[in-house]
């Protein structure tokens, strides 16, 4: 009995101490519920892993070569400009930038774009997407997302209180699937997903990760449905200048009836190979953009001045050189065309079948022909491609991204045999990747 009393006294003491310690931490739920379910992030996870294992990094989408000299010079010039270059500029976009964007894109969209009404400059295309979802999607709204999709669309829909509805691009039946052009959207399947709650459809062309460049007829099919059902269209076109094999990038906003219902998103980072500058924009009819401006002014308010000045100068230069061989918008896709070929042949050389992208930064390849014993019980509940990519980083020192990360939970198991490579890299990086693949293939064949 004495022992029990003694123990009870000890427990009471321990409980008192722990209560005293917890008095200074909050006992109620701290976080806002909108952060629930959106806390996992594939980039955070895989970037860390690639760094840890010092892998040859064909994973995250950024160039490992330098931006063109004219753009870095423009930035330095801005930095040595007067004090105004280092202070707040116009909140919705530095005047020089919105004016050069309006001038440049009016020609392409076929619509007179008002620099002050129809454009919002944001911290990367990422923030433009955030503003679009926050401003235009409400609780209960449905948003159609075409899969595979850049992964942030889904959590952004969720954070806005909306519901994501997915429709996948599917490989065409019957033919060998060799190009991103062989993945198509079924008009019937898309139409069947539209309900009275549907507010918007999100498209990404050129597409990440597949590389598909939507043809005019495909965009017309989507446009017809948007007009028929009075939907908004969010068109993520960050890779707009990167098309190969003569594929043409078409802006859905340029189709009849679409300017008034489309938000087109672009990226200075992808345009000028300077992803770390985080200058992006949304373009669209002022009556839609004004709501996005409200979100912007209550979340970020201003974007960095000098970076915007530099991107403005970049567009001025490209406006002069448009269509000529000196244009960066000609030179970059020409250079990347070769990198694309190089990576494809490395993959084919070891028996893998890549899907040739018509545009963008990325190439996906089917890995189902490779047999791997993962030996890794930690990851056994994860999708096959997630396990494969982690194994590839740890065992072979090559970093890629699992493609099922770009699919909805309901479809991810259907598409878990693909991995994504970024080929916007120096030749030396692609050579190093080829070495790894060759060695690996030799090891396999010697068994």
């Amino acid at each position: 009995m004495g022992i029990l009393n003694h123990l009870a006294a000890q427990l009471a003491l321990i409980r008192k101490i722990s209560i005293r310690n917890h008095q200074t931490t909050m006992s109620r739920r701290i976080h806002a519920r909108r952060t629930e379910g959106v806390d996992k992030n594939v980039w955070v996870e895989f970037t860390q892993l690639a760094a840890e294992y010092k892998a040859v990094n064909l994973g995250q989408g950024f160039p490992d070569f330098s931006p063109p000299q004219f753009i870095t010079e423009a930035f330095c010039k801005a930095v040595s400009g007067g004090p105004p270059m280092h202070q707040y500029t116009r909140a919705f976009g530095h005047p020089a930038l919105v004016q050069s964007l309006a001038k440049f894109f009016s020609r392409i969209v076929g619509h007179d774009i008002d620099p002050f009404e129809d454009i919002l400059v944001t911290v990367g295309a990422y923030q433009a997407l955030f503003c679009a979802f926050q401003a235009l999607i409400d609780e209960g709204d449905e948003v159609i997302i075409v899969e595979p999709f850049f992964d942030c669309y889904q959590p952004m829909v969720v954070m806005a209180g909306g519901k994501a509805v997915y429709v996948p691009l599917r490989p065409k039946e019957g033919t060998a699937v060799l190009s991103s052009g062989d993945w198509v959207l079924s008009a019937e399947e898309l139409a069947s997903k539209i309900t009275p709650h549907t507010k918007a459809i999100v498209i990404n062309t050129p597409n990440n990760p597949l590389g598909k460049v939507y043809k005019r007829e495909e965009l017309q099919m989507i446009a017809d449905l948007c007009i028929k059902h009075d939907l908004l269209c969010f068109s993520d076109e960050v890779y707009e200048w990167l098309t190969y094999d003569g594929a043409k990038h078409v802006k859905i906003a340029s189709l009849p009836g679409m300017w008034e219902r489309t938000v087109t998103i672009g990226s200075g980072g992808k345009t000028f190979s300077a992803t770390g500058w985080k200058v992006g924009w949304a373009m669209g009819s002022g009556h839609i953009l004004k709501y996005m401006k409200t979100i912007h002014q209550n979340s970020i308010y201003h974007c960095a001045t000098a970076a915007q000045e530099a991107v403005a100068q970049g567009f001025e230069r490209e406006h002069e050189l448009f269509g000529t061989p000196q244009s960066y918008f000609q030179q970059l896709p020409a250079m990347l065309h070769h990198r694309r070929e190089k990576l494809a042949s490395s993959l084919k050389g070891v028996g893998l079948q890549p899907i040739m992208p018509e545009g963008g930064y990325f190439m996906i390849t089917d890995i189902s022909s490779i047999a791997v014993d993962f030996k890794d019980s930690d990851t056994k509940d994860e999708n096959y491609d997630f396990r494969f990519v982690k194994w590839l980083i740890k065992e072979k020192g090559l970093a890629t991204i699992p493609v099922s990360a770009f699919y909805s939970p309901e479809h991810s198991k259907e598409f878990d045999k693909y991995i994504r490579f970024c080929f916007v890299k120096e030749n030396s990086t692609l050579d190093a990747a080829e070495e790894i693949l060759k060695k690996w293939s030799q090891n396999e064949s010697s068994h």
Binding site: T24, W43, T47, V123, G276, W277
Partner: protein
């Protein structure tokens, strides 16, 4: 998007004052040059390939490490650069990440008036209800400083309810320039602990402290680290508001929710700018205690400008409120007794005096300032409508220009014009 209210006024005034013939004393940004080493660091960063591409989402490693060192020193505690720091797009972005991460529908958030005007729309955007408590002016004083405003303890205590999620404090305060004393912070801390609430401490002007004053971080008071997010700004620290970099510092169990917001809103901040700020911080870390340290030398420079602005205002027949910190000054315009009857607009007969005064100043005198009632709720309008806000982080020439404008326009025979 119906939460936006007075915020639109500051934005509207900005466009009114954007007329190049108007001398803008309103918007809070320097026209002094930033220190040359930060500009050099930025130009240098852009010449390094890797610095032009994405960096770590929650903050560029050199920057979060520099912040951890500088603030570890200031707080007197180790700060984990990866778990207890988040880099954001300005102090503004930190406020947004904090509200979105920690505040929601059903919550109440206490805001001390006058307040930086974005707090209210941000609280509303998070679905919560703002609860206001005004700073009150001690009566009977002739010459006024920001220290003459105080928080009534009983009044403050009455604002805390079971729904209170957080209190926002801003010290040094924009627009008054008040620095909350240790006793005042302790009073707030006691209430936070008693009612188990969070504290969001906006300390973007933390280095702009004038002689005889001390900036105290509420997060250093007992029991407060665990429940406080402290916000800082590179723009205000290095006179580079156009760089739009800021940070939130706090315990991991709070910062991780801000990080979730970050990864779903803009993912990462610009790399070369973060690299340059990191270098600026490390350079000044070495210089702490020495006269060249920008953390103290900027405040010394601004104190002179503060005093010059105060003299200019007095000569013009108005009454300055001498700020203990920050780079704004409240100016009492009531002594001018300016007749504003022709500024009445049809739709807003009730418009506060300071709004009418500023509109008149812009229209008739080509001078812009910010009306201080833009920083208060409707119930406090009457207490603040005789003040306008001026900004004194300006080069000598600008101050001289202001002096001559005031001489020309705002003198005793003014209301006959």
């Amino acid at each position: 998007t119906n939460f936006n209210h007075k915020n639109v006024c500051r934005v509207a005034f900005t466009s009114l004052a954007a007329d190049p013939s108007v001398v803008n004393l309103g918007q809070g940004f320097p026209d002094i040059p930033p220190p040359s080493y930060v500009k050099e660091a930025l130009a240098k960063a852009v010449s390094v390939d890797r610095m032009n591409q994405y960096t770590r989402g929650f903050g560029h490693p050199p920057l979060v490490k520099a912040l951890s060192q500088v603030y570890g020193h200031v707080y007197g505690r180790p700060i984990d650069p990866f778990k207890e720091v988040l880099v954001t797009v300005g102090g503004y972005g930190s406020l947004f990440s904090t509200m979105q991460g920690l505040v929601e529908e059903g919550d109440e958030v206490i805001i001390i008036e006058p307040f930086f005007d974005c707090y209210v729309p941000m609280v509303r955007m998070a679905g919560a209800k703002p609860v206001f408590i005004p700073l009150r002016l001690k009566s009977g004083k002739k010459s006024i400083t920001s220290a003459d405003w105080y928080l009534d303890p009983d009044e403050l205590s009455s604002k805390f309810t079971s729904k209170t999620k957080a209190i926002i404090i801003n010290t040094p305060n924009n627009p008054i320039g008040k620095i909350l004393t240790r006793d005042e912070l302790q009073m707030i801390a006691d209430l936070c602990i008693k009612h188990d609430t969070l504290c969001f401490s906006d300390e973007v002007y933390e280095w702009l402290i004038y002689r005889g004053q001390q900036h105290v971080k509420i997060a250093t008071l007992p029991g407060m680290w665990e429940r406080t997010i402290t916000i800082g700004s590179a723009g205000k620290t290095f006179s580079v508001t156009g760089w739009k970099l800021g940070w939130s510092i706090g315990p991991q169990h709070l910062i991780r929710h801000l990080q979730t917001v970050m990864q779903n809103t803009l993912y990462t901040c610009p790399t070369p700018l973060q690299e340059a700020v990191a270098q600026g911080l490390m350079l000044n870390m070495e210089l702490i205690g020495q006269p060249e340290c920008y953390f103290t030398s900027l405040a010394e420079e601004l104190e002179g400008k503060r005093d010059r602005m105060a003299a200019i205002v007095q000569e013009a027949g108005m009454t300055p409120v001498i700020p203990e910190g920050g780079y704004f000054m409240l100016v009492d315009v009531s002594a001018l007794n300016q007749d504003l009857s022709d500024m009445k607009t049809d739709d807003d007969d009730d418009e506060a005096y300071d709004y009418k005064f500023v509109k008149w100043m812009i229209k008739k005198k080509k001078l812009a300032a910010i009306p201080v009632t833009a920083f208060v709720s409707d119930q406090s309008t009457k207490d603040f409508e005789k003040y306008i806000r001026l900004c004194f982080i300006k080069v000598s020439n600008t101050l001289m220009l202001i002096k001559s404008y005031f001489k020309q326009c705002l003198n005793a025979s003014f209301h006959t014009v």
